[in-house]
């Protein structure tokens, strides 16, 4: 069948969609092709050069099929340019050269066309563009790996625009609409300086100016729904009132909206020294370098940003497009966040991993990841497996470790034992990390994190992958049976069918992840130097922020050689106002000088600044401000000191409990026993932490009293059992008499009085009355009756001797509150 005939037949048979394709319409037609028609029928002239051969292998073979570009751009159909023609690959090569940029493959016309949706064979034109880029990069080979010259073009000059900001907001409106009805009402229990446990920021402070200052960073006047106050309630469910976060968030948002409505759109403070303004999309795409992708057989960059499919843009068929299930969200700036779900490819498509890796016997798993936490265990990040018990490979997280399981002839069915990064090093952090797991029969398994090899030699000898199964599925963020959830964000995942070398790993790490732009902020008007700019590399950092890095001073006109221009205090502004957080260049103090120009001009700082996202990359307009730039200066007023309003605390008790050492020292003092006496010391050491540790009476427990009593008894025991001490302490008392005699009549006063004098003190009116205490211990009425008291009850018990009773009386007095309270 000729191509012409094919198109005619197709036109007759395949209906309008295909006609549209031949006609070059820009509409996106989903046509998920997983298998390309093999170019086996090529009978034309052989490639004349190596470059033509490279073109054929990398691009022509992939696009010539009738269900790709070969449906139209062929000699048979005649849609120019004929880069997919079938009759002569050398002529196709000539045509292709007019629509590719081998220096910068992503800038190729072919890429732009499919990226615009021109007959993209996937539902996402970006994915088609990425695949086309990959094919052209493959053709370009070494030409594309040597980096590129970045051509900086002057942006359109634009003044910073208008936006709502707090400079024109009224504190009174804040008080009436937000502080009074919402913040004071619901948040002052913590976020106020007079709270019982004050928590910064004090946006609910009774001092309105303090509250207003603190609240500003939590309010988005342009988009009230994005205010931190609203998100904190609605999304993070932080102390919602009345247990209804939806209503609370709604109420908060309405209040912020009402407040925002009082704020007029304002221009940038005219006193500021400002640069021109730019949006991210006005920038120049910055390629930080080229990834090593020669052996890449699957690649997910997660650029689509919507839908439930992540496309494999490696260009290697069949594509393992991943389908989301469960709670999987797109991540701002390319990526997916797996909260409670997975992204899984079909077993059929996944089998390419089996086929291509088994062919080489080695492979690498590469990923840019952001673990959500460091508490999850056995959490599958990238897994090619069937479930809990069978796998070909798995990269997983356990606490602070990455772990790598690979099935080979030297392991079991499940790829155990796992190779782990050293736990003590805690290399896994809940932040963006580049992790590469490589396997080869020679070196075994290795794990690289952020470009560095972090694992020791694999204890499992290298084996063959001959036992791998081709019926498994590639899954990201979970196990195939959903029993191995990994919570986190994946910003890029690639599979290579070679073990990347350390140099290649480092190369890919250095390239980074995500899209970056060069933004040229014009300062010509400020310093009077034509084509003078402050150049920043800006990237979408995550869903909520931008990253500004590598600031340079540059003049696009090479004849301009400014020298000696002071620059001090650089800040980044967004949407008409300076950002109030993250100003990493606020202390910058440099002199702009052409003599320090490098490739991109004069480097100003090695630091990076994270700036909160407000309206998104399409809407946020950035500009720079300076405290001093050339002769222009801005006098910045300093934030006032925090005014802490102290309010009265509830009255605390004026008394307290003696603490452990105090009790020990007190008992030593009132019994005259040396605390170093072995029995006493041993008892104290064993009881030390059972005694009160704080003075607060409210913290006093029954167990404390028990411990005090134990210690008191030990002291009293030591006192009574030491003849010298006992005689000196209880002069005149006869320990050798039986209890009835020893405690007869007023004899008992010989025990009670010395004790109470020491324990209670003499004449201290804040202590209990002496007779009352004495009566409790051993009262005898003049008529001989004896109301209930300690000594008589002990005697009546019949099994206590005289010494034992003295110890009991001593312990009751010394271990009581009269000595242990202060």
């Amino acid at each position: 069948m000729t191509i012409a005939k094919g198109c005619a037949v197709s036109a007759a048979v395949l209906a309008a969609a295909f006609l549209a394709a031949c006609g070059g319409g820009a509409g996106t037609t989903e046509n998920p092709v997983t298998v390309v028609t093999p170019p086996s029928g090529y009978n034309g002239p052989a490639p004349k050069t190596d470059d033509v051969q490279s073109f054929k292998l990398n691009l022509w073979d992939n696009v010539q099929a009738s269900n790709r570009c070969g449906g139209c751009h062929t000699d048979g159909v005649g849609q120019l340019p004929l880069f997919a023609r079938h009759d002569d690959v050398n002529l196709a090569y000539e045509a292709a050269n007019t629509v590719v940029n081998l220096t910068q493959p992503s800038d190729s016309r072919l890429v732009a066309k499919v990226g615009e949706g021109h007959n993209c064979w996937l539902s996402d034109p970006q994915a088609c563009a990425d695949i086309m880029t990959t094919w052209i990069e493959g053709w370009a080979g070494a030409q594309a790996t040597g980096g590129r010259q970045i051509v900086l073009e002057a942006p359109v000059e634009k003044e910073p625009g208008q936006s709502r900001n707090f400079a024109n907001a009224s504190q009174a409106d804040f008080a009436a609409l937000l502080h009074g009805p919402i913040l004071s009402e619901y948040c002052s229990g913590c976020h106020a300086s007079d709270a019982a446990t004050p928590q910064q920021p004090y946006f609910a402070d009774p001092d309105l100016s303090v509250a207003y200052e603190a609240a500003q960073s939590k309010i988005d006047l342009d988009v009230p729904a994005d205010s931190r106050f609203v998100v904190k309630l609605g999304v993070e469910q932080h102390n919602c009132w009345e247990n209804d976060c939806v209503s609370a968030a709604s109420e908060m948002q309405a209040a912020i909206q009402a407040f925002a409505d009082t704020v007029p759109l304002t221009a940038v403070d005219p006193a500021l020294v400002v640069s021109d303004a730019l949006r991210l999309v006005d920038g120049i795409v910055a390629a930080g370098g080229n990834r090593y992708e020669a052996a890449q057989i699957a690649l997910w960059e997660f650029k689509t940003g919507q839908g439930t499919t992540a496309f494999d843009t490696s260009g290697v068929e069949p594509a393992i497009d991943l389908t989301f299930s469960g709670d999987v969200q797109w991540f701002g700036g390319w990526g997916i966040t797996i909260n409670d779900g997975k992204a899984q490819g079909s077993t059929t498509a996944s089998s390419k991993l089996h086929d291509l890796i088994r062919a080489t016997g080695e492979y690498s798993i590469e990923a840019w990841v952001i673990p959500a936490n460091v508490t999850q265990e056995m959490a599958r990040i990238v897994s090619y497996s069937a479930g809990q018990d069978a796998r070909n490979f798995t990269l997983q997280q356990t606490l602070y470790d990455y772990q790598f399981r690979n099935r080979s002839t030297e392991t079991g069915l499940n790829g155990d034992p796992a190779l782990s990064t050293p736990s003590a090093d805690e290399v896994l952090q809940a932040t963006l990390q580049h992790v590469v797991a490589t396997y080869s029969p020679v070196d075994g398994r290795r794990i690289y994190v952020n470009g560095a090899l972090v694992t020791a030699a694999d204890p499992v000898p290298g084996g063959s992958l001959v036992d791998w199964q081709d019926t498994f599925a590639l899954v990201l963020g979970n196990e195939a049976d959903s029993q191995g959830l990994w919570a986190g964000t994946l910003r890029l995942v690639a599979i290579h069918n070679r073990a990347l070398t350390p140099e290649q790993v480092l190369q890919n790490f250095d390239v980074g992840v995500g899209e970056k732009f060069f933004l040229l902020f014009g300062i010509e008007d400020v310093i009077g130097v034509p084509t003078a700019y402050i150049l920043f590399e800006v990237a979408r950092f995550d869903t909520y922020g931008y990253l500004f890095t590598n600031p340079h001073f540059i003049t696009l006109d090479g004849t301009q050689q400014p020298e000696g221009i002071p620059l001090r205090g650089l800040r980044i502004g967004v949407n008409g106002t300076e950002v109030d957080v993250g100003q990493a260049y606020a202390n910058l103090d440099v002199t702009l000088s052409a003599s320090q120009f490098g490739d991109l001009g004069q480097p100003l700082s090695a630091l990076g600044a994270v700036i909160p996202l407000e309206k998104g990359p399409d809407g946020d307009e950035f500009f720079l401000t300076f405290d001093r730039l050339g002769d222009a200066t801005y006098v910045r007023s300093e934030d006032p000191p925090l005014a802490v309003t102290l309010s009265d605390l509830p009255p605390a008790p004026r008394f307290g409990v003696r603490t452990f050492d105090e009790i020990n020292a007190t008992l030593a003092a009132v019994t005259t026993v040396d605390p170093e006496q072995p029995d006493v010391d041993a008892t104290f050491q064993s009881l030390r932490q059972s005694l009160p540790a704080v003075e607060s009476p409210s913290g006093f427990l029954a167990s404390h009293q028990v411990a005090i009593a134990q210690l008191a008894i030990e002291y009293c025991n030591a006192l009574v059992e030491d003849p010298g001490l006992a005689t000196a302490y209880f002069p005149g008392f006869d320990f050798n008499q039986p209890p009835a005699t020893a405690f007869a009549g007023t004899n008992r006063d010989l025990v009670i009085e010395p004790l109470l004098d020491r324990v209670m003190g003499i004449g201290v009116m804040t202590q209990p009355d002496y007779p009352v205490v004495r009566d409790e211990l051993g009262y005898v009425q003049s008529d001989g009756t004896r109301p209930d008291n300690l000594i008589d009850r002990l005697i009546a018990g019949g099994n206590a001797d005289t010494r034992g009773i003295v110890k009991g009386v001593c312990a009751a007095a010394a271990g009581s509150a009269v000595s242990t309270f202060q």
Partner: protein, 444 residues
């Protein structure tokens, strides 16, 4: 005794008499259960009631139990009465020394108070060794460990603070001086070692008196630190073991802030400060959410990291058990996890800057005569200890220790403010501060 206290005692006694009838019935259910629990062996805290065989031999369990009960009941008798000079003296002694006074001491203090010399009375109380061995030791102990536990062995940090207070060394040098207190040679202790705590552990185990047994010396003469590298208690072995061990050395800053400025990081969060000195190990997007960094992390790290840089040359070597100082060479811990944010600050030396001198945290009252920047821990210690917050903090801690409560109303706050002024103007004398606090609370 006043009429009210007499009535209280009378009522208490009647109550007790009723309680006796009810509580001391041997066959009572409650008593039976209690006996069973108490004699069954170790209690729930793991403490056996049979720690001393001697005691058990000589005292029946019933005697013990009744005595214990009696002790509890006697507690109810504690009455209230108008506090005259004698009662004020008693309270003052209790609070300062932690132990009841002898009759002679009480009488002497009473006389001073009656003669309107209450500070003299306080000094009598502070002459009791327990002021040093008990009150001050436990006052300082929580500052020396991350758990803020009071149950730690005596160490060089505690001994140094106790010694400084005893000798009225200006306390604003506590974070900067080349100072150390060790046991006197006559005590026969093992010599001070920079590698272990044996010297102090033995001093405590033998119950030696800190009031008379401590002797002042310098760290540089014993630990190997150059004099310029010493920074008061921050460079003691105990502090190093607690706060320079592993980690990033931020702990030393945080706990110094907590213990000597009475502010934790939450109270000094300021998200408006430049983050240009925040190290590379701090993720700018924890878990993929930069809002966490911009709303929380930055608030503390922006001020903390430029000051914690002062400790860049310090480490605690766990293997040798001693502080390590590497002048000119930043410790590797400052570069841990440096790939977390490669565009963060990379520590080149031990220079520090106090960003809190500007903005909201200027309320801490920094000394305008100081530059607010420097190199190393010693000058940072001077910076911190010269602030109003430092003086106020020491006074508040003393007030809390002596009055057993925080300042709670305008009168208390005025007292603290006055004491802080006197503390600053009077040579940072801690004993005076204790005395003033005791005088203030003696009549309450």
């Amino acid at each position: 005794m006043s009429a009210s206290s007499a009535r209280f005692s009378h009522l208490a006694r009647r109550l007790l008499q009723r309680s006796h009838t009810r509580r001391f019935l041997p066959a009572g259910r409650g008593a039976g259960r209690t006996v069973s629990t108490l004699t069954a062996g170790p209690d729930r805290l793991g403490h056996s009631f049979h720690t001393s065989g001697t005691r058990v031999d000589r005292m029946t369990q019933r005697t013990w139990l009744i005595a214990c009960r009696a002790a509890v009941l006697l507690a109810v008798l504690a009455g209230t009465a108008a506090a005259g000079p004698r009662e004020q003296a008693k309270r003052m002694h209790d609070r300062l020394a932690g132990v009841p006074p002898s009759d002679a001491v009480l009488t002497a203090m009473q006389a001073d108070i009656a003669a309107n010399r209450p500070l003299d009375a306080a000094y009598i109380a502070m002459a009791n060794p327990s002021f040093y061995n008990v009150t001050l030791k436990n006052f300082v102990a929580p500052w020396t460990n991350r758990d803020r536990s009071v149950f730690v062995p005596l160490n060089d940090y505690i001994a140094t603070v106790v010694g400084m207070i005893h000798e009225d060394v200006p306390f604003n040098t506590v974070l900067s001086a080349d100072i150390l207190y060790v046991g006197a040679p006559s005590l026969g202790l093992p010599p001070y070692s920079a590698s272990n705590n044996d010297h102090y552990a033995q001093m405590e185990a033998r119950g030696l008196d800190l009031m008379t047994g401590l002797q002042r010396t310098t760290q540089s003469s014993l630990t190997g630190l150059p004099p310029a590298a010493t920074a008061g208690v921050m460079t003691t072995r105990a502090a190093a073991e607690a706060f320079f061990v592993a980690g990033t050395n931020r702990a030393m800053f945080r706990f110094t802030l907590l213990n000597y400025m009475c502010n934790d990081l939450e109270q000094v969060m300021d998200t408006s400060l430049p983050p240009d000195r925040i190290r590379q190990d701090v993720s700018r997007s924890p878990g993929g959410d930069s809002r966490l960094f911009l709303n929380n992390c930055i608030g503390c790290h922006s001020g903390m990291d430029p000051m914690a840089q002062a400790f860049a040359y310090y480490n605690f070597d766990e293997a040798s058990g001693r502080i390590e100082y590497t002048p000119g060479q930043v410790q590797p811990k400052y570069f841990h996890n440096d790939a977390n944010f490669p565009f963060g600050f990379r520590t080149p030396d031990d220079s520090w800057d106090n960003y809190w001198r500007e903005g909201q945290n200027s309320f801490l009252g920094w000394d305008e005569s100081l530059p607010g920047s420097g190199n190393g821990a010693k000058s940072l210690g001077v910076e911190l200890a010269s602030s109003d917050a430092f003086a106020s903090c020491q006074v508040k801690k003393v007030f809390r220790a002596v009055c057993l409560r925080p300042p709670e109303d305008a009168a208390d706050r005025a007292q603290v403010s006055q004491m802080a002024s006197l503390f600053e103007s009077g040579g940072y004398n801690m004993r005076q501060t204790f005395a003033r606090a005791a005088v203030y609370c003696m009549g309450q």
